[in-house]
């Protein structure tokens, strides 16, 4: 065995075997990861593929060189091949890479060119940094390449907005000696993202000094390990997502081999062949399609072999034919042409090599030589090597196809995953699910239908035209509802020819330019019925298994998202419900009118549940009465009455449990029972109103205008509101009762004649009723808050027992007022004195009367005793045996006895008259009386008895008689009293004038004295019983009984006349009696 053979056998063959194994493994891995729905970047797969490619190329190289690989050439090739593998894999994915924005194509192109042209490390680094800046929207990128021992590093490029960052560039780093993101990544080669760089303790201050806020460190990995670190940074805070980090990593993996090569082996690649081979291998990493790749390979092989033309043929699966897939040189076949395997047998001018991929033949590489010749072993190896490259290209194209499918799937997952990762509201989640479904399945629009109390209803949509929105949902019998119910996936390739969905939907879809439809059942959280996700496609779409599988995954993920948002919503709603309930409870508690409480409760129920209406039925005996309602039909339904055993409402009352109706239109009883349901409301939730004592007070109901599945927590919240309303109503009723009681008490206190005063525990007045104001003369406003001592000048309380009324004197202005006062002590529940209540009445006048009575008794006693003393005394004197009286003396004595007896009789008569006046038994005998004669008689008779006191009597009478309608005796009595009074209250020697004359309406008698007169204030009082003028004004006869004027007035009135007094203090008094004229 020669050296060549050795090289081939011991190097090329094992290498190619290794390549085949690696590629197979990589392919399997990719398939596996796709099934598992893993992330795009599968590093082991990429490494496997890379290794495979590297081995393949090395094998080819060995074959070409016919010598074992050694030294630096070997290293260089390793580098090249390592570069090729992951780049190839990544680039095949590029056309479908979602994360790469369109403008990045320019940078990508420059990068590809730069990589292909194998520039100096600095220049390369600059390109890489610029590409990264552009592609990932960064503010600063620096590329650090490590020294061989990985203990030092150098910033080979630092770029910022298209220019070098000079102070960073070329910086040498001591990775052992410094704490930095770079050293961290070198130690542990996984991407590291730092959101808040200034606050981070693990990274150096360089980035922060450059004004950066967030950054990420991505290791540059080659087969020899970490060769460098790409540092990216932004000025504004940024969270690098796992996805972005993965993309960064992919990007770095893309450039890593080139960087490795650039830094170590660039200068070593000298020979043209190597350069050609290099270019050929670079074809695999170029950003071009399979066809271009193959034609470039064909051109490369043609050049290397100096052949006329080169073409590649692959077996068409199933047909046994060969198809030209790539060609170079005019003499070869045209790509796309077909031939049977035996059509063009290898002639002398053509040489062939089989394309074997993953252990099975894929086709053939054919070179058309300018002239027939036997290929040198080197050329032969070259040909075989290119056949291997073509196999790799085809293989990677297969992988690319797989990857594009995988990308679709993954994009959907990203979309759904990003939706899932945020706690969104239900509505937002539904929208996101629609969008995710549409995007992930490559549709043009999507709709999400959910069951709403029966038929499906459009809940969310994405890019869905309005006419299509109108055509969806609402029909409980259509195929979509059936599909949702059975959980079956429904696909329609051509909607126009579809009959299952109804014409309206088909027409609307056609009008919107949609041709295909995929309907995916969507499990609904907490609801039995399924929803449905509809994805519309503009193209006629034949659904592949993997798409259907993906649709299933999307639906599953969406269900999860809905579940989560449902929980989130639930919590949010629960919190909102709790807040509204708390607010409502406060409002209810402050309402003091029972009817208003019910009204408020129905309004709060509407707010609480975002309902369309609410009502309150109150149980009154055997009936439920609609007391309050809000919403449509509310006003008309008020005061409606239903038996307490009625369907629905009665059920709630009897069972004391909630009842719900998602769609009441299906039950005719609903409209009959509830006026609001009759008014067109559709959905019902009713709960019992339970009073604090557990009794059912009525039913609180909420309504909605659309079918609605009432949630458990909504029922619970309404029940809580009902309980709060029931309690508030009980309170309000209680309060009203108390208020009525209070009003009654206040009314009583206002109107009671007794003064009522209440003081608190500190003795301050808290109540001072009008009677108290009247009696004390102190206004309530003045008394409140002060103590009785401050108000009245004395305490009302007493230390002793309070059982019987006490007599208390207070000052009322200038006079003294006497109060009969009772006292009650109020105690608080603990038994302490909480206050006192004083009730009192003004007995000043009673007391005055008492005093007058007492005075009267003593006066009468005196009046009676005086004549009695004389009668008794003279009788005893006359009976004396020891003294002999002469006849004149005896006569005087006897006359006194007689006159004093008359006096006594007059007194008794007067008392009798008073008694008669009091009892109404006074009778007068009216007749025509000549007043003048009566006046004369009275004055004459009184002159005899009273003349001794020195008064002068003047009688002034006209010559004619003065007939009046009167009782002669009574008139005499009246005049006697008046004259007697005049004598008593005027000084001795004074003149008493008695006159009579005809007046307008009758006869007028006047009795004038020259006494002190009567103060105006007293003029009204003098006619009262027992009233006597001040003793100081009396001059004669202490025995006034205080009955004279009382009697005079009584008698005059009885005779139909009237009596009054004209007097000015100090100038005497004139009493005037007016009597009606006598009738003819």
């Amino acid at each position: 065995m020669d050296a060549d053979t050795n090289a081939v056998l011991f190097n090329a063959v094992p290498l190619l075997l290794l390549a085949a194994l690696s590629l197979t493994a990589a392919g399997l891995r990719v398939r596996a990861s796709r099934r598992q729905g893993l992330l795009l970047t599968d590093l082991p797969a990429a490494l496997l593929a890379g290794t495979g490619l590297a081995a393949a190329l090395l094998g080819v190289a060995v074959l070409v060189e016919r010598e074992p690989l050694a030294g630096r050439v070997w290293l260089g090739l390793v580098a090249i091949l390592v570069a090729a593998a992951p780049v190839a894999l990544l680039l095949t994915r590029k056309p479908t890479e979602p994360a790469v924005p369109a403008p990045a194509a320019g940078a990508g192109e420059r990068l590809a060119t730069g990589l292909a042209e194998a520039l100096e490390p600095e220049e390369l680094g600059r390109l890489v940094a610029d590409a990264a800046l552009e592609r990932f929207d960064l503010d600063l990128v620096q590329l650090v390449l490590l020294g061989e021992d990985a203990r030092t590093g150098q910033v080979v490029a630092a770029r910022e907005a298209g220019r070098d960052v000079e102070w960073l560039r070329g910086l040498r780093l001591d990775l052992d000696g410094e704490q930095s993101g770079i050293s961290a990544v070198v130690r542990d080669p996984v991407p590291l993202a730092v959101v808040d760089a200034p606050a981070s303790g693990t990274i150096s201050r360089r980035l922060t000094d450059a004004g950066m806020k967030s950054c990420a460190f991505v290791p540059v990995l080659a087969d020899t390990g970490t060769i460098g670190v790409l540092v990216v940074a932004t000025r504004s805070p940024r969270v690098f997502s796992a996805e972005q980090l993965a993309q960064l990593q992919s990007f770095v993996a893309e450039v890593a081999p080139t960087l490795a090569r650039a830094s170590t082996a660039h200068a070593r690649l000298a020979s043209a062949r190597e350069a050609a081979l290099l270019r050929a291998t670079q074809v695999l990493s170029a950003d071009v399609g399979l066809d271009e790749r193959l034609s470039r390979l064909a051109a490369g092989l043609r050049d290397l072999l100096g052949a006329e033309a080169v073409d590649f043929w692959t077996l068409v699966p199933g047909s046994g034919e060969l198809e030209c897939v790539g060609a170079a040189g005019g003499a070869g076949a045209v790509p796309g042409s077909r031939a049977a395997p035996g059509d063009q047998p290898a002639s002398g001018g053509t040489v062939e090599s089989a394309i074997v991929s993953l252990g099975r033949p894929r086709g053939v590489v054919r070179a058309h030589l300018r002239e027939p010749r036997r290929l040198s072993p080197a050329d032969r190896s070259l040909l075989d090597g290119f056949a291997g490259l073509v196999a790799v290209a085809l293989q990677s194209a297969d992988a690319s196809e797989l990857t594009s499918e995988q990308a679709t799937t993954e994009r959907g997952f990203y979309r759904v995953a990003s939706v899932l990762s945020e706690p969104l509201s239900s509505e937002a989640t539904l929208d996101a699910v629609a969008q995710a479904a549409s995007e992930s399945l490559g549709g043009a629009a999507a709709a999400l239908l959910r069951p709403a109390g029966g038929p499906l209803e459009l809940a969310a949509w994405y890019e869905l035209p309005e006419e299509l929105r109108r055509a969806l949902g609402g029909d409980p019998e259509d195929e979509l509802t059936a599909a949702a119910r059975s959980g079956k996936l429904l696909a329609s390739k051509d909607l126009a020819r579809e009959t299952r969905f109804g014409k309206a939907l088909s027409a609307a879809a056609a009008a919107a330019g949609f041709r295909s439809l995929l309907a995916v059942p969507l499990a609904q959280p907490r609801v039995e019925a399924n929803g449905l996700v509809l994805v519309f496609f503009e193209e006629e779409h034949t659904f592949r298994d993997d798409e259907l599988e993906l649709a299933g995954h999307v639906a599953g993920a969406a269900s999860g998202a809905l579940e989560r948002s449902e929980l989130y919503e639930l919590e949010r709603r629960s919190r909102a419900l709790a807040q509204r309930l708390a607010g409502g409870g406060r409002e209810l508690a402050s309402e003091l009118d029972p009817e208003n409480v019910l009204d408020l409760a129905s309004r709060l129920a509407v707010e609480l549940l975002d309902a369309a209406a609410a009502s309150v039925w109150v149980l009154e005996g055997d009936e439920l009465v609609l007391h309050a309602a809000h919403g449509p039909g509310a006003a008309a339904g008020l005061e409606a009455r239903r038996p307490s055993t009625t369907w629905l409402l009665g059920d709630i009352v009897q069972s004391r449990a909630e009842r719900t109706i998602a769609d009441a239109r299906r039950d005719a009883r609903a409209a009959e029972t509830d006026p609001l349901l009759e008014a067109g409301l559709v959905s019902y939730l009713g709960v019992p109103m339970l009073a604090p004592d557990g009794s059912v007070q009525g039913v609180l109901s909420a309504y909605d205008a659309r079918p609605r599945d009432w949630r458990d927590e909504e029922g619970e919240a309404l029940e809580a509101l009902a309980a709060a309303a029931a309690a508030a109503r009980a309170n309000a009723e209680h309060y009203q009762g108390v208020r009525h009681e209070q009003q009654r008490s206040e009314a009583i206190l206002e109107n009671v004649a007794d003064g009522i005063v209440a003081v608190d525990r500190d003795g301050r007045v808290v109540l001072w009723n009008p009677a108290a104001e009247h009696i004390t003369g102190v206004a309530g406003a003045e008394a409140l808050g002060r103590t009785p001592v401050q108000v009245l000048g004395r305490s009302l309380g007493s230390e002793g027992a309070h059982d019987s009324p006490r007599l208390v004197a207070i000052r009322r202005g200038s006079e003294e007022a006497w109060l009969s006062l009772s006292e009650a002590v109020m105690t608080d529940p603990a038994g302490a004195v909480a206050g006192r209540i004083y009730a009192f009445r003004d007995i000043s006048s009673e007391r005055a009367v008492e005093q007058m009575k007492s005075d009267f008794v003593s006066t009468v006693s005196h009046e009676l005793r005086t004549p009695l003393t004389s009668i008794y005394g003279f009788a005893e004197t006359l009976l004396r045996q020891d003294v002999l009286f002469g006849e004149p003396e005896r006569e005087t004595f006897l006359r006194y006895i007689a006159s004093e007896s008359e006096r006594l009789t007059a007194i008794v008569d007067r008392l009798l008259s008073v008694a008669q006046l009091d009892t109404g038994a006074m009778s007068v005998q009216l007749a025509a009386v000549d007043v003048a004669s009566v006046v004369s008689e009275v004055v004459q008779s009184l002159e005899a008895t009273l003349g001794g006191n020195g008064h002068r009597f003047v009688v002034s009478l006209p010559d004619e008689p003065l007939p009046a309608e009167a009782d002669r005796d009574k008139l005499g009595q009246v005049l006697s009293h008046l004259v007697d009074n005049a004598v008593r209250y005027s000084p001795a020697g004074g003149t008493v004038t008695v006159g009579a004359r005809r007046a307008d309406s009758g006869v007028e008698v006047r009795v004038e004295d020259e006494g002190l007169g009567i103060p105006r204030a007293e003029q009204e009082r003098i006619f009262r019983k027992f009233y006597r003028g001040e003793s100081g004004m009396r001059t004669v006869g202490a025995g006034a009984t205080g009955l004279g004027l009382f009697l005079a007035e009584g008698l005059v009135t009885a005779m139909g006349g009237r009596i009054w007094v004209d007097s000015d203090e100090g100038r005497g008094a004139t009493f005037v009696v007016e009597l009606p004229a006598a009738r003819d």
């Binding site: 003593s858 001794g948 025995g1039």
Partner: protein
């Protein structure tokens, strides 16, 4: 009773009462002075300094209490014993009379025959210097009457 004649001043606004007193006291050998009202009675008392004054309480103008108070003010008149004549039965008035200086009282109507012995007995006890005991007796008597009622 010595050779000296007992002089009694009667002050009363009622003429029959004055006459009654005069007749019965003169019958016992006493000299009777009369006044029909308070002021003239007081003047007479100051001028004549009688041995005793029979004083009506209820009179218009200056009443019996006023006369008694004035008499207490004068050094000589203060020593003259007073017997109040009163129609009032109230104990309060009786006590007042004793406070003011009266040593006894007679309630109307009274038996005029008993007047002279009463005056005589009173003057004898006063002569024996029993004025204070006398007042004490009368007050005790009043109290027992008051507590009985």
């Amino acid at each position: 009773m010595g050779a000296r004649v007992t002089r009694v001043l009667v002050i009363d606004d009622e003429a029959p009462i004055r006459l009654l007193c005069r007749v019965n006291l003169e019958a016992e050998g006493m000299v009777v002075l009369e006044a029909a009202d308070g002021p003239s009675g007081l003047a007479l008392a100051q001028e004549q300094l009688p041995d005793l004054v029979l004083l009506d309480v209820m009179m218009p103008g200056l009443d019996g209490w006023g006369v008694a108070e004035h008499m207490l003010e004068g050094e000589e008149t203060a020593r003259i014993p007073i017997i109040f004549l009163t129609a009032r039965a109230e104990f309060r008035d009786r006590a007042r009379g004793l406070d003011i200086g009266g040593v006894d009282y007679i309630t109307k109507p009274f038996n005029p025959v008993e007047l002279a012995p009463l005056v005589r007995g009173l003057l004898e006890r006063l002569d024996r210097g029993e004025r204070d005991e006398l007042r004490h007796e009368k007050l005790t008597e009043l109290r027992s009457l008051m507590s009985d009622s």
